[in-house]
Amino acid sequence: MQIVRALLTRLITTFITLFGAAIIVFVVIRVVPGNPIAMMLPPGASEADIDRLKALYGLDKGIFEQFVIWISNVVQGDFGTSITLRQPVYDLVIGRLPATLELSVMALLIAVFIGGAAALTATLYRGSKVEGGIDVAGGIALSLPDFLWGLALILLFGVLWPLFHISGRISPSLGFEFTSHFYLFEALARFRFDVVLDLMGHMLMPALALAIPLAAIILQLLKQSLKECMHDDYITLARTKGYAESSIILRDALPNAILPTLTLIGVQFTFLIGGTVIIERLFSYEGLGNMAIDAVINRDLPLIQGIVLVFALLFTMVNLVVDMAYAALNPRLRHA
């Protein structure tokens, strides 16, 4: 019962957050200085053009009415038509979202792998130079944001030691025809490992740039939780049973230490997705964030709205899923 009520409360706050986000988007674009129509039209548009567009977007009506029209369209998935690309915003967003999702998930996996491995290694060699080295590396990784790591990676692996692609999502020369927008997933499903390799080669650098700061955060929190767990009595008991230290860390300490880290990863994952905006730009990766920046520069109002709202939806959903996963994973909470 308790869990149902908690879930319901959580759903309601999620809804309020989403609604609030929609209002903010609406307000920022329409009420704050700058006539949205002027923003939408190329310079030198005629009065008639302006009026036609105003009517089209309901901008001749009152602000509250405008909001109602706008939000009911949005709820039905009608984000309007992109001014510059002359396609439905919905189609454009759906076309680009998979690229951003693939990049984000790849970055998350890398971060979890690096951060987790570093935390486990540091715990195994606690008190030694290995732990000290890992701490220093983690401190530096944490101090610098993804943008700077991206630039550093471009210099290192794009210029100095050109091992990976630093631009784009796939080599055009490959000539592979995709039926979906999930390139990596599709290539994997169709066993085209040459294509997978090419996609990975493009994705690795931007994903790594996104992953490094998160890996450092995972390292620090997980290491701290693991160290606390290693003093527990059941760890000592496992030692007397004959288990090696490494398997004790993995089997006994990790499950008890991981919960705070999982929650943190959830919150941080939204930050990571937020980072894709500039990282995609930096690596000319054709995702949602890159399109968003173009949309802002070209003043493509409907497209901006659509992308920002999709991001907001994505973020709130990620947070919701994390909270539910937290409840499902914690046996003490589950049986309460």
Binding site: Y234, R239, G242
Partner: protein, 292 residues
């Protein structure tokens, strides 16, 4: 021949401060030996040294621990742990913290059998069910699937006892196994440990500060003060006529087991001073080299 033989065991803190001073003791198969002393006397440290779970700050600096005739210190760490895991087991002090909260009870009983001793999982599970019945747990299959937090402290201690006996170890070290429990549960658990020990013929090293408990369970005992064994004798002799002044004072200071609320007399200061002097003289001998 004794199953556990400790010879001149010395454990020190990293700064050189001694925790155990050339401790020697033997536990024969099937024997129950109690280790008594005040807190800080090093009685738990002996068990920890045998099981290879000394705290990080402490280090084994001398002596031998022979388990079934084999010197454990000569083995590399991994092999040593496996050997200990196969031959000895621990009944820990606090049942509330000694079970892993995120794992079900069943695997925590069977894991040693499967992972260290190479049993097949179904066999190990069958064995665990038998053991849970042996420690008088109702509906063992339900308990196997439970998480520790769903069970009471007494239940958890029974599970830990079952887990300790699972691999038929020749030696069990019980580290104050009843101190964390309610008084009413204490007696049941003590009785259970005694019962299990007799049925399985296991040697038992029983660490306690409670002489009342000693009379109920042990045949022999070692009295420790400041990490040094100051008296080693049979329980019968000890309660009839303890030879060391400190032992006599300790015995006098213990409330009768039948009257646990009875007034607690202190060990007299003169006795403490005498035993301190004895320990200091021993340290001087070690320094002077007249003792190894």
């Amino acid at each position: 021949m004794s199953f556990l033989s400790i010879q001149d065991l010395t454990v020190q803190l990293k700064n050189g401060m001694p925790l155990l001073r050339q401790v020697s003791l033997d536990v024969a198969p099937g024997e129950v030996r109690a280790l008594v002393g005040e807190s800080g006397a090093g009685k738990s440290m002996i068990g920890k040294a045998v099981l290879g779970i000394l705290p990080k700050a402490a280090r084994l600096t001398g002596g031998k621990i022979l388990l079934d005739g084999e010197d454990l210190q000569t083995l590399p760490q991994k092999a040593r742990r496996q050997r200990i895991g196969a031959r000895a087991a621990l009944i820990p002090q606090d049942p509330l913290t000694a079970l892993n909260p995120s794992r079900r009870v069943g695997p925590q009983i069977t894991d040693r059998l499967v992972d260290i001793l190479g049993w097949k999982r179904p066999d190990a599970e069958k064995r665990a069910l038998e053991l849970l019945e042996e420690v008088h747990i109702q509906s063992p299959d339900r308990v196997m699937k439970a998480y520790p937090h769903e069970l009471s402290g007494g239940m958890r201690q029974r599970i830990l006892i079952a887990s300790a006996f699972a691999a038929e170890p020749k030696l069990i070290i019980a580290d104050e196994p009843t101190t964390a429990l309610d008084v009413t549960v204490q007696k049941q658990i003590l009785k259970l440990i005694r019962e299990m020990q007799q049925r399985h013929g296991t040697a038992l090293l029983f660490v306690t500060h409670d002489l009342g408990v000693v009379s109920k369970i042990a045949q022999s005992l070692s009295v420790l003060y400041a990490g040094k064994v100051i008296e080693e004798t049979t329980v019968e002799n000890f309660f009839a006529s303890p030879s060391h002044a400190y032992s006599r004072a300790l015995l006098a200071a213990t409330p009768k087991y039948t009257d646990p609320e009875g007034s607690l007399t202190q060990v007299p200061e003169s006795v403490i001073a005498a035993v301190e002097a004895e320990v200091a003289a021993f340290d001087d001998q070690v320094k002077a080299g007249s003792r190894p």
